[in-house]
């Protein structure tokens, strides 16, 4: 489950959590909870779904060795390989053309530490190459593919009095930090024609809190963020007009040491004297990883073709994201509930389908990635559905976090109260009590926060099953040992029952 959009305030978040917990228990369903007569095949299929098998999968996916399955990362790729291997064993058809893996492009906006550097060249030609993070910093908002070489001119503290009347055209401004008014400083310097800013730390005056903020932002720059590239950006590095880039470089104490070792030790006040042209130049090279930061990420797709010559073209999509948020500050976020639980539930459903044999309609199981970055995997699938020729998606059941909280606690969205409530949801209400969920709570507050929201863009009915948040949500403590594998088993059975009920000639969704 993805975090809320950052723009939402904390209080809104709290209010939301409150609303949800107050909303419990969910309203009772008016639909009948009569067990339909089950075929032997379906009974056999339901019986193959076993808690200990699910537990083994969760344990693997949530092991430290997969490092929290961040997008992108080796742990995520390993998880994809694990899922693929299972689909192969079970005899599923590759669900993305020739392959089980649907590749799509994302932009990893991070500093490529290997290639990025800040180099100061003295008048004699000798130079010092500085390392990001150790010797210099820049903020998260300035992670680009761009290089700048220019001479350096002192600009005091970059305040109005210092900059007024200076011509900094095509130059780096060198300023002593004040810890204040960075935005104003930037505007003044740009107006004076500067193309970049080198900030010397002022150990007396610099607000240490602000330096910490820059250091934190630089930390984000190092780790990077993941963006969904616009269609025309997917093959190329982003080209932006050169004046879009104003390079701001913050030297650290160690960076200043490297600088003075090269150009001599002069008092900072002297160096930054407004208008003073220094006899050295500086080159700032910033690179994103790979080709403009474009990375390839995978959804895993397994296809279970239907047996009915006509209805086989109607495809039920079942989805769960298999990524999580990775490792931060050396703490592994194992994401056992979020969403090794749903990932493993779908593996159990795959096995059950293999035991059952074909249904009349087809089923596409989609394990999506980059959910935690902004539902990007499902977005990529929706933009390029991997359906066989002539087939179309008719609905989506999405499972995300189904292994925690009270055994009988399960939420759904769109619920009966949601304007998008549909026939799929009705089936969930109808069968849930058979699997130990006497009442379904409403997860309407989460309607936009998992992948079904993207599948709904295909104009198909969706249903999202979810066990509610908990204290370990997006914490390193979301671990395997806390998982209720029997609950995952029952949710998986519920989904299988829903799929099985979607085999009538006509569907009223």
């Amino acid at each position: 489950m993805a975090t809320l959009n950052m723009k939402l305030s904390l209080s809104a978040l709290l209010a939301l959590g409150l609303a949800v917990s107050v909303g419990l228990p969910g309203r009772s369903s008016e639909a009948e909870t009569i067990a339909p007569e089950l075929s032997t095949a379906l009974i056999a299929a339901l019986d193959t779904i076993e808690a200990h098998e699910i537990g083994a999968d969760v344990r693997f996916l949530a092991s430290d060795e997969l490092a929290g399955r961040d997008t992108p990362g080796r742990g995520l790729k390993t998880a994809a390989r694990y899922i693929q291997s299972r689909l192969e064993r079970l005899g599923f058809t590759a669900g993305a053309g020739e392959s089980y893996l649907q590749n799509f492009a994302l932009r990893h906006r991070a500093v490529d530490l290997e290639r990025s550097s800040f180099t100061v060249t003295a008048s004699g030609g000798e130079s010092a190459k500085l390392d990001f993070d150790t010797h210099y910093l820049f903020t998260n908002g300035e992670v680009w593919d761009h290089a700048l070489t220019a001479g350096v001119v002192g600009a005091g503290k970059g305040e109005r009095d210092d900059v007024e009347g200076l011509d900094l055209t095509g130059k780096w401004a060198l300023c002593l930090d004040t810890g204040r008014h960075a935005g104003l400083r930037r505007r003044l310097l740009m107006k004076a024609g500067a193309v970049g800013l080198i900030v010397l730390p002022n150990l007396d005056e610099t607000d240490q809190k602000r330096m910490e903020k820059i250091r934190r932002s630089a930390g984000w720059a190092k780790r990077g963020s993941i963006e969904y590239p616009e269609e025309d950006e997917r093959a190329l590095a982003v080209e932006r007009p050169a004046d879009d880039y104003f390079h701001q470089v913050y030297l650290t104490k160690l960076g200043v040491e490297r600088l003075t070792a090269l150009v001599g030790d002069a008092p900072a006040a002297e160096l930054t004297e407004p208008g003073r042209e220094l006899d050295w130049s500086a080159t700032d090279e910033r690179f994103l990883p790979g080709e403009g930061g474009l990375i390839q990420v995978e959804n895993v797709c397994g296809y279970w073709p239907g047996s009915d010559p006509v209805l086989t073209n109607e495809v039920i999509l079942v989805s769960a994201h298999y990524d999580h948020v990775g490792t931060r500050d050396e703490k592994i976020y194992n994401g056992a509930d979020d969403n090794a639980s749903g990932t493993s539930g779908m593996l159990a459903i795959a096995e059950a389908l293999a035991i059952h044999g074909p249904l009349r309609r087809s089923v596409m199981l989609i394990w999506v990635s980059a959910e935690e970055k902004g539902l990007f995997g499902s977005q990529a699938w929706v933009e390029s559905p991997t359906l066989p020729e002539g087939a179309r998606a008719i609905c989506n059941v999405n499972i995300d976090m189904i292994g925690r909280n009270a055994p009988g606690e399960l939420y759904i969205t769109p619920s009966e109260d949601h304007r998008k409530f549909n026939g799929l949801g009705k089936l969930a209400y109808q069968f849930s009590s058979l699997e130990g969920f006497p009442e379904l709570g409403d997860a309407d507050a989460y309607y936009d926060r998992s992948d079904h929201a993207n599948f709904a863009l295909l104009d198909i009915p969706v249903a999202f099953l979810f066990n509610g948040e908990h204290e370990d949500y997006h914490q390193p403590t979301d671990t395997y040992d806390k998982i209720d594998t029997d609950k995952i088993r029952r949710v998986s059975r519920l989904v299988l029952r829903m799929i099985a009920a979607l085999q009538t000639d006509n569907l009223d969704l």
Binding site: D57, S63, L66, R74, K77, T78, Q84
Partner: protein, 497 residues
């Protein structure tokens, strides 16, 4: 399958090419020991497609060649554990499915590691890495000072009736044939160690292609048994650079031409080695699954089926996927696990053991064999080891010990009687590989009857090209069935090994 230490690849291609299957087919009936309905069902679960799916995971680039130690290896261990858990196997180690053992990534302490050629009036100091070198494998603390006996090329003739007790053997690397025969003969002649030199007219440095690798791993560390100062180092070898070898012979009075084999030289040799005390300790894992028997008595006897799941990792940018070595054996055991689950208990218990550290010197099997963990009251009765069974001709399968080997036992007879039913008309001899995979440790440290199934090396052996697309999955399927049939054949009241 472990690469022989310091073995130049060409040198051992020779004996393999020369070997031909030599075992006479068994005249005994080739019917499977049991053919119950359970057994038929169990055999049916062993399918090439499933083995393929498993092997494509084990040999995927994501596992980065499963080096010991590495995160790829740990991922593989967790994959195996997940399967055992899914199949409902019982944990085969004290605290779960993972048997932990500890190694040290030993680095050399260059300050305390040096050698000297000590003559009556002159001592020549030698620097590690330029004047002499040795493999990082089995690095130990050592203070050795001993007289040198020249042993020619270490042929049988050269060493005839020599007792080298307390001496260091000085041996010219044989111009023909594999060097390791000389190595073994010198060991047999009771030498405490050996010094290799190149031929008198050699232009290339002896084992020259390996010096860089030795040097690197002496500094970077190589996993091995934790070393303790003062412990008896045992037999160790080193290699002298050509220039130093000439000096040595000159100092001994043989400036022109080398002495006769068997000549005790007037010079001694000092070989001191020390391990960097900061070398980190590391935890490694064998994956162990236990399948309890049904017979009240015989269930206390356990058949150990083993395969190593490690390989040699990454070199530069190249991943050594180790699909055949030993993804094939690893997945054979997975297939057997599933088949046994389908079958239900046999009379005796079965332990499936995936060992690590094999490529680094049979470390995982040795660790377990020296300190085995079995459920209370259970004892091991034999070991069948599977390593590299997915390549070469579909009908080609080798076994050791054969009837020509001193350790020949009933397991080989059993395998020979069953193998034709799985498309291996005759089993070739793998006797020359007897000491090169994990069964050797189960025999050496536990005295178990062992047998080793192996379909021979090939051009991709220990290369980045040992990839899953080249594996013959039907062959792995048939080997898995053979192993299951062997297990079933070991369920009689008494076993005649």
């Amino acid at each position: 399958m472990r690469l022989l230490t310091t073995l130049p690849l060409l040198a051992f291609a020779l004996p393999i090419g020369a070997s031909t299957p030599s075992v006479v087919p068994s005249n005994e009936t080739t019917t499977a020991a049991t053919s119950t309905a359970e057994m038929e069902r169990a055999l049916e679960t062993i399918q090439a497609d499933k083995i393929k799916a498993d092997l494509y995971f084990i040999a995927s680039d994501q596992l980065e060649g499963r080096d010991t130690p590495s995160s790829g290896l740990r991922i593989a261990a967790r994959f195996l554990r997940a399967r055992l858990e899914r199949l409902g196997w019982q944990p085969g180690a004290q605290s779960g499915f993972l048997y932990e053992y500890f190694l040290q990534e030993k680095r050399v302490d260059r300050e305390k590691t040096f050698a000297e050629i000590v003559g009556a009036d002159e001592t020549i100091a030698l620097t590690l890495g330029t004047d002499y070198s040795f493999s990082s494998r089995g690095l130990k603390y050592q203070e050795r000072f001993a007289p040198l006996v020249y042993c020619g090329e270490g042929t049988e003739e050269d060493l005839a009736e020599l007792d080298l007790e307390g001496k260091l053997a000085l041996v010219t690397i044989p111009s023909e044939g594999p060097w390791f025969r000389a190595y073994r003969r010198v060991q047999k002649a009771n030498a405490i160690g050996m010094v290799w030199v190149g031929a008198a007219d050699a232009t290339d440095e002896p084992f020259g292609s390996q010096w860089e690798g030795w040097n690197k791993s002496l500094d970077n560390g190589r996993p091995g048994w934790p070393a303790t100062p003062g412990a008896e180092p045992g037999f160790t070898t080193l290699t002298l650079a050509n220039a130093r070898a000439s000096q040595l012979f000159a100092l001994a009075g043989f400036a022109e031409g080398r002495p006769e084999a068997g000549t005790e030289l007037s010079v001694s040799f000092r070989d001191n080695r020390s391990v960097d005390p900061a070398s980190p300790r590391i935890a490694l894992e064998n994956v162990c699954g236990f399948w309890p028997g049904s017979d009240p008595e015989l269930k206390n006897e356990v058949i150990i089926i083993s395969a190593h799941y490690d390989h040699v990792g990454i070199e530069g940018e190249e991943i050594y996927n180790g699909a055949d070595d030993n993804g094939s054996g690893t997945c054979t055991l997975l297939a057997v696990a599933e088949a046994l689950k389908e079958h239900g208990p046999m009379r005796r218990s079965v332990m499936l053991m995936w060992v690590s550290g094999e490529e680094k010197g049979l470390l995982g099997s040795k660790a377990w064999a020296m300190e085995p963990w079995l459920p209370e009251g259970v004892k091991a009765v034999c070991n069948i080891n599977i390593d590299m069974v997915g390549r070469n001709d579909p009908g080609q399968l080798h076994i050791t010990p054969t009837d020509e080997h001193e350790k020949y036992n009933g397991l080989t007879r059993l395998a020979e009687s069953l193998s034709p039913s799985e498309g291996f008309a005759e089993l070739g001899s793998a006797d020359q590989y007897y000491s090169r995979s994990d069964h050797a440790m189960f025999e050496e440290h536990m005295g178990l009857p062992v047998c080793f199934l192996f379909s021979d090396v090939h051009e991709d052996y220990h290369k980045p090209t040992d990839t899953p697309d080249k594996v013959d999955y039907d062959k792995v399927r048939r080997v898995s069935r053979l192993v299951l049939k062997m297990i079933a054949g070991l369920q009689t009241d008494t076993i005649d090994f």
